[in-house]
């Protein structure tokens, strides 16, 4: 026979699971170089341009 507070415990576990999942997704987005830095909005990929001098 179920205890009377089992339903509440399931709701709490569900909420904690959702928070963990959302956190993992946020981390995954931050490590993807094709998406934005802070704020989460998409931007262009970045490259390094090095400039040198030459003469003749």
């Amino acid at each position: 026979m179920k205890k009377p507070h089992t339903r509440g415990r399931q709701l709490w576990l569900g909420a904690i699971g959702w928070v963990l999942w959302a956190g993992l997704m946020a981390c995954a987005r931050k490590t993807d170089p094709s998406v934005a830095n802070a704020g989460g909005g998409a931007t262009n990929p970045r490259v390094v341009l090095t400039m040198k001098g030459a003469a003749r």
Binding site: V47, V48, L49, M51, K52, A55, R56
Partner: protein, 209 residues
């Protein structure tokens, strides 16, 4: 016979002396570099900058700097430079005002010349070839149809009555890349105004490679 031989040697030496010569060193101070995805050089982003640059010698293939920018095609490149450049003639010419191994300074942005910063601030040239005075103009290279390297002077981002941008091929950057600002100073050194100068009537040919 001896006199004839002497005259022949003298004539040979005179023929060997040159009016225009080349440098072995060409130093310029570079404060900042920006790039723009627009042909008119608007909306430029900074690649690198420094408030107290050390002169870099174009003949030693120096690194100017680097920066992180977004991928894409850039139609304009611009540099904030000092207009006092120094150079060392490779050989002495026949006067000789240009002396091999001696460093000379030259003002490439003299009184009467005008430039404008990417932010729209006007910059007016001061000094002359014989009395250099430091100003810090911007030079622009773009793929605009009005970009002309030989006559525009490079000091303005768009064509005006007093100049315009020099020519470049657009840079398409999809990965990390290195490019060079190339100065063609070959046979650009000569006597002028009682000193040794860079040829003002045939300005240095500037390009991006």
């Amino acid at each position: 016979v001896k006199i004839a031989a002497f005259l022949m040697v003298l004539f040979g030496l005179a023929m060997n002396a040159q009016a225009v010569i080349s440098p072995t060193s060409l130093k310029v101070k570079i404060f900042e570099m920006r790039v723009s995805k627009n042909t008119d050089c608007s909306g430029a982003v900074r690649v690198f900058s420094t408030s107290s640059p050390t002169p870099v010698d174009f003949f030693s293939n120096p690194d100017f700097g680097s920066g992180v920018i977004s991928t894409g095609t850039y139609h304009c490149v611009m540099f904030h430079i000092s207009d006092i450049v120094s150079f060392i003639p490779e050989v002495s010419n026949y006067e000789p005002l240009c002396v091999a191994g001696t460093s000379f300074s030259y003002d490439i942005f003299e009184s009467g010349a005008t430039s404008v910063s990417p932010d729209g601030v006007a910059i007016n040239g001061t000094g002359t070839s014989t009395i250099p005075s430091e100003d810090d103009p911007w030079i622009y290279l773009s793929d605009s149809p009005t970009a002309i390297t030989t006559n525009n002077g490079c000091f303005q981002p768009t064509k005006t009555g007093t100049g315009g941008p020099c020519v470049m091929t657009p840079l398409t950057l999809l990965s990390d890349q290195a490019h060079s600002l190339v100065m063609d100073a070959d046979l650009q050194v000569e006597d002028g105004g009682g000193t040794c100068i860079l040829n003002p009537t045939s300005p240095l040919v500037i390009s991006i490679r």
